[in-house]
Subunit: 276 residues, 2 copies
């Protein structure tokens, strides 16, 4: 994200409660962070059906929109106002080069839009999964197409994108060095997750390209439910996170006793367990 | 709509401020009208990011959701909460036969969804058109597809559906009878509108099948803006509504003087001007 902050100076950041996403973005190093609240405070007919609350109004910042150029849009957390946020993202997308207030004749001269993940649904206390950020992404692409007739390409980071796994690998290596004084990456990583489309898919795909072994462990306590057929096949399916950790520990113990195949038996068992 | 009220007993009605759409639906004769607010009041984890305001909570009604069967969904006005309303509509769509709380294995056993119009954008005080009900419809269809892999067929009433024009014709005939004691439909109807995709399209298509002549007059003061190429060609383009009315009056005057072709010259000029 630091590279993004070096590349894009003025960015629109969408999602989350109040000012949280602005604070996060500034923490990543972004120099000039605009929120939908800033735009609505400055021009209140931007969103016909949304009025800012007193707190939102107080925290939002007036902007000189005529002289503002949005260089990139980041959706960092779930939108609390799908209609308004999509309207403002579309105003950016359909602008000439991110200059708010302009309209491109072709509709495809706007800045890039990044989503921090693409899960369409997520598990909550509700008996059925609820709409998540991937649903907003599908919505935005459909509305853009309905208006412009064009396909919209948005960019996802996070799972199942491999960059996420590369990043986790770097973190794990650093953690091993700092806490255990072992200066090499783990040989096996167990990835515990509840969503086949992101957790299992990304882990499996990273396993295909990584020097380490990545094992996807799918739990039944979230998005994936017992009885369903997962779209992406996990290494193993477990009842819950505790069972997944037990599975990983037992597999490593069996391996160290030579009970299972070990393609890399010259190295001590050096594995990590990541939880989504 | 009266036929709909006879056909569907328990309906979910979406859109608008507060209780307005419930009142409208009850006015149409619907016997049992549920709003998204009723469902959220009864089960508040339905929409993870939406809490009802005090007023919404007071006006919304507890329902026995386990024993409620939604027979049809109507979107009567612009949604004030796209995420929550779409979540609740999807819960209906993916239910078995409208029984809330159930999930169909195939995802296509839910009730029908009706939209009262399909304009993707509409003109407001903002310099660029804002998202309207047609955008919500595109969004709902896309999110449904992202979850189920299936295409969703929603039903639109209102323009450009021909039923709307048949209804207008009946109203005009009744009005002529009541106020002018003329018991026949108008010969020519001028339809003034700002949206090529609904106003012009519907008028042109109805003109093809109606015994009356329907002339579409497109104004430049709304969704359609000067310089653009309308997707559907109007009979005439006018600066504004006043110019459109003048155009219609002058055309009728010219016709009565025999200055323009009149395929039906045996009948006195009996025309009406409808404004969208």
């Amino acid at each position: 994200m630091r590279e993004m902050a070096d590349k894009y100076h003025t960015v629109l950041v969408v999602g989350g409660e109040g000012e949280k996403c602005r604070v996060v973005a500034e923490g990543y190093g972004f120099k000039d962070v605009i929120t939908p609240g800033d735009i609505i405070k400055t021009k209140d007919d931007t969103t016909p059906f949304r009025r800012l609350t007193d707190d939102e109004y107080k925290n939002s910042r007036f902007r000189d929109l005529k002289n503002t150029r949005i260089e990139a849009v980041f959706v960092f957390a779930d939108s609390r106002d799908w209609a308004g946020d999509q309207q403002i993202i579309l105003d950016c997308l359909m602008s000439v080069n991110g200059h708010l207030g302009t309209r491109s004749e072709t509709g495809n001269e706007g800045p890039p839009v990044f989503f921090s993940h693409t899960d369409v649904v997520w598990a909550t206390s509700h008996e059925h999964c609820r709409l998540g950020m991937g649903a907003l992404r599908a919505s935005l692409e459909a509305v853009y197409k309905a208006i412009t007739g064009r396909e919209l390409s948005t960019i996802a980071f996070g799972k199942p994108q491999l960059g996420t796994y590369h990043f986790a690998m770097r973190l794990l290596q650093q953690w091993r060095k700092d806490t255990h004084d072992i200066n090499k990456p783990p040989r096996t990583v167990y990835f515990v997750g509840d969503t086949p489309e992101s957790d299992v898919r990304g882990t499996n795909e990273f396993n295909d390209v990584s020097e380490a072994e990545w094992v996807s462990l799918l739990v039944k306590t979230g998005v994936f439910q017992d009885g369903a057929t997962p779209k992406y096949q996990p290494g193993h399916t477990c009842e819950n996170v505790l069972e997944a950790v037990k599975y990983a520990v037992e597999r490593e113990q069996a391996r160290s006793k030579g009970e299972i195949d070990d393609v890399d038996s010259g190295i001590d068992s050096e594995s990590a367990c990541l939880r989504n």
